[in-house]
């Protein structure tokens, strides 16, 4: 099972986990979030991230998702993005979280690709449909 870590501005990650658990009707294992806010000590944040990666990696890797590319959470994560057992993706939304939870029994790259596809598929201008 792929581990999933959400690193987000404020409580976005926690809210997404709560919503996903409500939709899927169960609590979710191997899924954690780390909030980053203006008062966060970035070195402390890195320690939390490294601890969570260790806790979440069951040997098949960890998918880390964050919200805005270029913002502090994604900048912190840059150093982890080139590691073999980690994929880091941005643009986090609820569809991606649900997709990750429900398709994480395969490889890390498969899970990552499915999340990216769900994110793209789910952005629709309903007024022009």
């Amino acid at each position: 099972m792929i581990g999933i870590l959400l690193v987000t501005h404020g409580e976005i990650g926690k809210s997404l986990i709560d919503c996903a658990a409500h939709i899927l009707g169960k609590s979710i294992n191997q899924l954690e979030c780390i909030p980053i806010d203006p008062k966060s000590d970035l070195q402390e944040c890195e320690k939390y991230i490294e601890n969570e990666i260790k806790n979440l990696d069951m040997g098949t890797g960890v998918l880390i998702m964050t919200d805005i590319y270029g913002a502090t959470p994604s900048n912190i994560l840059k150093k982890y993005s080139s590691k073999d057992n980690i994929e880091v993706i941005t643009g986090l939304n609820l569809a991606m979280v649900i997709q990750a939870i429900t398709s994480r029994d395969g490889s890390l790259s498969d899970t990552t690709n499915k999340c990216l596809e769900s994110a793209e598929d789910g952005i629709i201008n309903m007024s022009k449909k």
Partner: protein, 89 residues
Amino acid sequence: MIKKKVKIINKLGLHARASSKLTQLASQFNSEIFLIKNSKKVSANNIMDILMLAASVGSEVELEVNGPDEKEAINKIEKLFKNYFDEGE
């Protein structure tokens, strides 16, 4: 292979919780199970694909089931639709 059309009668349609229940039920069978709406065919095992059908109350979807337990699967899935996805309305 069995195909059957089912009408969505629960108030909220094939929304997130209902889609989740459908995937949980579909995953219990060995058969391949698909939903078809407006020529779009998706696996009943993938919640996000089901949601992309945007199937609201009053709309109709076709179930397509193919495999060793297809009869039991289609009956139980049809029952879930007819039972308003256990939502009461």
